[in-house]
Symmetry: C2
Subunit: 410 residues, 2 copies
């Protein structure tokens, strides 16, 4: 069992007399998408929503950002409003390379700017995937990535994980069985589980990928949001993996999701293909936003901002971890991530998190049912809970409400 | 003969020892793209380039734009830096609907925001095209649209045109022969020819499309840049075409290409598919840029700005038309558009504009050879010349240089 691209729906005769566009099979029956639904749920003001990975807007460095927009429009306004280049503006690629080089030596020409890491995933899929290709993913994994690969006709195969991430032996076996086009991993504070692969696991996974010459798409939007424990370098930094990996970074969780700026780091000829795909998809990312993010990275103290965000998030993680421990059934399992945005709870076989959601929403609390994160053999008792949006007091209130719903379904 | 998707290239063994990613067949052999090459050519400071459709940055309303960014970040900064919705921010959809309603009654929920009309074309292709589908296009047509359709596996078939645009009878015959997924037209100041379909031609084309229930992708990035003559409503405004058309608009040529904001106007269920495709591709467009463009449309006088731009462009069109008439061979044909950005010259069978380009660049002038704009039966003597970037004096200098090159190739 694995995620298949949507099968073609039979044309539906219009019962309204309206014109019916014929929709591509890969989008047939998709009137909405998991991502869109999350945002809809998160936007309801009557709800304490733990569903989205939505940063707390009170943490945005608004003055710094406004300052940077103003500087860009004052000092290089003509350039900011003009067409740019598909690779991304050089100032931003320089800043991205400088920051990445803390972990992995990177030059600006190894950077391709994208409109957030969502577009990064789409560009990567666009450049590499053919219908029928297999993509190996962690089980569970980020559902919007799965959607991007699926609309490119790929078949996702889930690889077994434990609390330390993907299992190297299972990965190697899956590679030898399925000959995947690439492997998609989120090694740090994984979405949805919050899990992190330690140094030994990273090395073992890198060994498997190198030995089997399997490309890696390494998604790292949360890595800098570490509250405790030691930071680990990306898998792209092990051995020869730097030339075999598309490493995806994003400013969404560090600075602002609204500016939609991220980048891909890789090496070699694929860089040209990524730029051509990017040109086809959107020509280039907003030049204003690119230059502003470059200015921000050059002149503002992102490390200090991230440290502040981490301190706040840590408190919220603690609040949620404490509160949820008190309301979970005895057989439940919950992660306690060292950073990032999400807890992952598995309630146990008696529970169906999807079926429970309506009662939760009625009680004024929302989470994301976990089943949709699985490529196969979904655990329907799982839920993803983001702790970053609300204060500890609101978190305690929300988990208390959730507790009553869980108890009623027990 | 017609444009086919690129055929799979044989895997090339690496001679550098570097890792070779396997690239999707649709991007194999595409180390660059026509669009990227245009931008590269346009960026050379030693060249008078007529190659790109690059607005003159001196015409940007920098103060107004900076003012709007500042207002947005001051008054709704938390929202601007936060995630938005895939459909687009409601303020921008309201402004887009208001402006579109001059020609065609439009509500905000009929608008889908895209990151420029390049992403609009990609979203449309993503939502509708299957490998093997036929797309009917004007011959010649916009080459970056052709690329977007081609990477979705479509086969482009060119429909015969005259100086008034696509021929309705030829269009109907092509529809009955090829059963296209949709027809792609640029009815006003077409790229590359600068041609405009008059009212009667629009009506005739709308009749054909309605009678054959054929969807239309109507691309209108230049329509407001009219110097002389009467404006014509979009084909989407004829009869029942409003429900059968994706009408693409862009702020790139009116306000700024660097902000990458455009929109699609349509009706019915396809609106949901467009939003889902947009979510997959890039989640949402920059919220900062969307709110800024909305503020600009609400509070600044875009009509006055466009009138100013048109006055300047008209002078430049005249300068180029006058200069080029003096240097073209007797058998040549050149368009004199009533607006937009491009002249289209056909030098006659003795000339090969591609072969001539190296000499032109050596002489310090660049244009875009026209062959790549044809889906079939390319006229290799054609060239596209943009008159919007340079002053009349520089235009005269550039065309003079071009004249010597043409004479040498005669």
């Amino acid at each position: 069992m694995s995620f298949e691209p949507a099968s073609p729906a039979a044309p539906t005769p219009s019962d309204t007399g309206r014109f019916d566009f014929r929709v591509a099979a890969r989008y047939a029956g998709m009137e909405s998408s998991p991502l869109k639904d999350i945002f809809a749920l998160a936007a309801r003001p009557d709800l304490i929503s733990f569903a989205g990975g939505i940063p707390d807007p009170d943490l945005f460095e608004l003055d710094d950002v406004r300052d940077c927009y103003d500087w860009v429009l004052t000092h290089c306004g003509h350039r900011a409003l003009q067409y740019g280049v598909s690779e991304g503006e050089v100032e931003l690629r320089e800043q991205a390379a400088r920051r990445l080089s803390r972990d992995l030596v990177t030059t600006p020409d190894q950077i391709r700017v994208t409109s957030g890491s969502q577009e990064g995933l789409f560009v990567a899929a666009e450049a590499m995937l053919e219908p029928g290709d297999v993509v190996l993913v962690e089980s569970p994994t980020y559902l919007a990535a799965v959607q991007v690969f699926a609309v490119h006709g790929a078949r996702m195969v889930g690889v077994e994980t434990d609390d330390g991430g993907v299992l190297p032996d299972a990965l190697e076996a899956a590679i030898r069985t399925h000959h995947p086009k690439f492997v998609y991993l989120i090694p740090t504070f994984q979405n949805p589980t919050g899990r992190t692969m330690d140094l030994a696991r990273r090395r073992a996974v890198a060994d498997v990928l190198e030995r089997t010459a399997t490309p890696l798409v390494e998604d790292d939007p949360y890595g800098e949001l570490r509250f405790t424990g030691d930071a680990h370098p990306p898998i792209a930094s092990f051995g020869a993996m730097s030339a075999q990996t598309l490493l995806m970074k994003s400013m969404s969780k560090l600075m602002s999701p609204g500016v939609r700026i991220g980048w891909i780091r890789t090496e070699g000829a694929i860089l040209d293909t990524l730029a051509v795909a990017k040109a086809a998809i959107s020509m280039q990312s907003s030049v204003v936003d690119q230059l502003t993010v470059a200015r921000y990275l050059e002149t503002k103290d992102l490390d200090a901002h991230v440290a502040h965000v981490c301190a706040v998030y840590r408190e919220r993680r603690d609040a949620m971890a404490t509160a949820i421990a008190a309301v979970l059934p005895a057989a439940a399992h919950v992660t306690r991530p060292e950073g990032g945005m999400f807890l992952w709870a598995s309630l146990g076989p008696a529970y169906d998190a999807q079926a429970m959601l309506a009662d939760a929403v009625a009680a004024g609390v929302a989470y994301l049912p976990g089943w949709s994160f699985f490529a196969e053999d979904a655990d329907h008792s799982t839920m993803r809970l983001s702790y970053v949006t609300h204060s500890p007091a609101v978190i305690a209130d929300g988990i208390d409400r959730l507790g009553h719903v869980i108890a009623a379904h027990g």
